[in-house]
């Protein structure tokens, strides 16, 4: 009888504490949700996982044509397709994870109102599901690099760190939007539009161009947590082929501001989520 778990139920005032132990106890559920989303994702489609390839490739073709061929925007000396696809690969993971997390609570409302488990599992699993498409797209990227004769260097070992950083930003923002979405479905309309704008600010213009315009621009650019990630992602994959001012220095500077910003977003998202968590089942 000594080990009988005792559950105490009472109104929590303010923030619910982040119970990491409970989260760890239910880690299998995290895995099951991610597994379910993956399984269901390409059910009843003709081309299945090819859609994970087609999306970034189509955007790459359009961007290369519009920004590289027609507008003649600089691309750190990289071939247009390589420059834009590299940005798209990491950006699309961010955007997919963020929008999946934002819709996750509403999408799982039947479960939310009937069973208790740490609610954090739902948006967290959405961010994990996105890895699958990311790795498929990364494979395409490597094939394209081989085609252009670009070899990734040892700096590629930085990739897991970059992915983790991206996940932190996506989860943080996702937690915020997911909580808001529970009450205001407007989130579903705003988000695609917001992500579109954010993407153009992040992957089209190389940082080297921004840096030339002075400190204020640099500072603003540094506030975008994905700015540093995209820059570093390109740098660690394509360093050998880069010419011009795109260099390691810029990458480190951007990451230097990107990491605290990402951590801030994660902490703020978590706080907001924990603040509203107790009301999810009542108002979703």
């Amino acid at each position: 009888m000594l080990n009988t778990p005792v559950t105490i139920i009472q109104p929590s005032d303010g923030w619910r504490s982040l119970d990491l132990r409970e989260l760890w106890d239910r880690r299998e559920l995290l895995y099951f949700f991610a597994w379910r989303d993956l399984k269901v994702r390409y059910k009843q489609t003709l081309f299945g996982v090819l859609w994970a390839v087609a999306g970034p490739l189509a955007s790459m073709v359009v961007f290369t044509f519009v920004f590289d061929k027609m507008a003649g925007l600089p691309s750190d000396g990289l071939p247009g397709p390589i420059f834009y696809l590299s940005g798209l690969v990491i950006w699309r993971y961010f955007a997919n994870a963020l929008s999946a997390a934002s819709n996750s609570l509403v999408g799982n409302q039947t479960i939310l109102t009937k069973v208790y488990f740490p609610r954090l599992i739902i948006p967290l699993s959405s961010c994990i599901t996105g890895f699958a498409d990311f790795f498929v797209a990364l494979g395409v990227m490597l094939v394209l690099m081989a085609y252009y004769g670009i070899l990734p260097g040892i700096a590629m070992l930085l990739l897991p760190f970059l992915l983790l950083l991206t996940m932190a930003s996506a989860l943080g923002a996702g937690l915020f939007f997911a909580s808001l979405n529970v009450k205001y479905r407007d989130v579903g309309y705003i988000l695609p539009f917001l992500l579109q704008l954010w993407m153009f600010c992040t992957i089209i213009v190389p940082y080297s161009e921004v840096a030339q315009r002075g400190g204020a621009w640099r500072f603003v650019y540094g506030l975008n947590p994905m700015g540093g990630v995209v820059e570093a992602f390109r740098w660690c994959l394509l360093r050998g082929a880069m010419t011009g001012p795109g260099n390691a220095n810029a990458t480190w500077i951007l990451l230097g501001t990107g990491v605290p910003v990402a951590l801030f977003i994660l902490a703020a998202g978590l706080l907001y989520f924990k603040r509203l968590e107790k009301m999810f089942a009542d108002i979703v």
Partner: protein, 430 residues
């Protein structure tokens, strides 16, 4: 709280806000997490609810729709937080507020067993260990590799219940899961719950099915408008509940704004037309249905059923008989007169459903336990002369049909009460 108490609830209350008006200032304040002071449009779904459940008790929870039963279970399962009060649960808690929570139609039966099990709180290893039992209980072995969306609703429910039935918690909270599935399935579920209860687990069981509550729960809690109306011995609480249901109060509006018919009152009366709750075996019983039609309803079909013991006993169904009023309008009464009702002493309940002319749509939503009556009489008066007949009679059979016994030597034994009618059986010579 001592070690023998499994659940202790102290002063639990739950407030919901109604009326989602879009007031920007308030909305933004609330979105930022600041509680609003506005007290208008609030409803207390639960108020000052306190009780204790000793370990190993099976406690039934009854009450009308909207009485707070589901809210109470949602609080105890931590799906939602109480507004005030405190509860303590001692032991691993499992809940079943709905059959098949989280089933994904695209996934196969087998995949859903794992997914649903994990959602309910089982570990993967635990599910694997119990897989054979779960599959066996579900009876859908042949379709394990088929996506659940191709399942019939019966298969769906069976599989879902099979998973939930193999949760192994010390405290189990169940909400009206028997409302789904056919009679055979319900029997099986009740059997399984019986088994769980006998295993010394503590169970809280919400149901409208009085037969199930009687059978499973020695103790019963009656919630009325968010408060505890009675708590104690099941038979006594149910009797009090029915007394209240039968009082002259109007029934609550079944579906506000629903166009169709509103059943305002259902009363039971004797041959003189006087309201009456107590009858003797073989009496005629009239059921008067007071309605208020919201418009002209052409050829409605009324379906009145009588339940008792562990299930449905008999009824009067206009669909079967093809006897219907041409049209009803405004307020009025429809009376159904049952003749020589062959029920034995017990409490019985009536349920009512009204369908439209096609028999497919509800004109009034089904109303369970809309009225009740009691058959009284002691064993001797009914012609039972056996030893301790009174004791055996209590809550045993509901209906009796005349019979006799033919013994090996050819002699015939006829119960005292069954004499009179000529036997029409051929003598058997085997």
């Amino acid at each position: 709280m001592n070690g023998e108490t499994a659940i202790r609830v102290a002063g639990i209350g739950k407030r919901y806000r109604l009326g989602q008006t879009l007031d920007w200032g308030r909305s933004i304040r609330r979105a930022l997490g600041k509680p609003s002071e506005n007290a208008a449009g609030e409803i207390w779904a639960l108020r000052e609810v306190s009780f204790e459940v000793p370990r190993g008790t099976v406690l039934g929870i009854i009450g009308r729709n909207g009485a707070g039963k589901s809210t109470l279970l949602k609080i105890l399962t931590r799906v939602t937080e109480p507004t005030v009060g405190r509860a303590e649960l001692r032991g691993r808690v499992g809940s079943l507020l709905e059959v098949g929570t989280g089933f994904n139609p695209e996934l196969t039966g087998l995949e859903n067993i794992y997914l649903n099990g994990a959602i309910l709180g089982m570990r993967k290893a635990e599910i694997s260990r119990k897989l054979e039992e779960i599959v066996e209980f579900s009876g859908v072995r042949a379709f394990l590799e088929t996506p659940v969306k191709r399942y019939s609703s019966g298969m769906h429910v069976r599989l879902a219940f099979a998973v939930a039935a193999h949760l192994d918690p010390e405290i189990l909270l169940i909400d009206e899961v028997l409302a789904v599935g056919d009679a055979a399935f319900q029997r099986r579920c009740l059997g399984k719950m019986d088994e769980v209860a006998k295993g010394g687990r503590t169970i809280l069981f919400v149901s409208h099915n009085m037969g199930a509550i009687r059978r499973l729960c020695p103790q019963c809690l009656w919630l009325n408008e968010g408060r505890i109306a009675a708590l104690g011995n099941t038979e006594e609480v149910i009797a009090q509940y029915f007394d209240a249901v039968n009082s002259d109060e109007l029934l609550p509006d079944q579906r506000p704004g629903h166009t169709g018919i509103r059943i305002t009152r259902v009363t039971v009366s004797d041959t003189q037309g006087l309201p009456c709750q107590q009858f003797a075996h073989g009496d005629d019983i009239a059921v008067r249905i007071h309605y208020e039609a919201l418009g002209r309803i052409v050829r409605p079909r009324f379906n009145l059923s009588v339940s008792g013991g562990h299930g449905l006993l008999f009824g009067a169904n206009m669909v079967l008989d093809d006897i219907r009023p041409e049209a009803i309008e405004g307020t009025g009464v429809i009376t159904c007169r049952f003749r020589k009702v062959p029920l034995l002493p017990q409490t019985y309940t009536l349920s009512l459903t009204v369908y439209d002319a096609t028999g497919e749509e509800y004109v009034a939503p089904p109303i369970p336990n809309v009225a009740s009556f009691r058959i009284q009489g002691d064993a001797l008066a009914l012609g039972y002369t056996g030893e301790s007949a009174d004791k055996y009679l209590e809550n045993s059979y509901t209906i009796r049909v005349p019979y006799d016994w033919v013994f090996p030597d050819g002699s015939i034994g006829t119960p005292k009460w069954a004499t009179g009618g000529p036997a029409r059986f051929e003598d058997s010579h085997d």
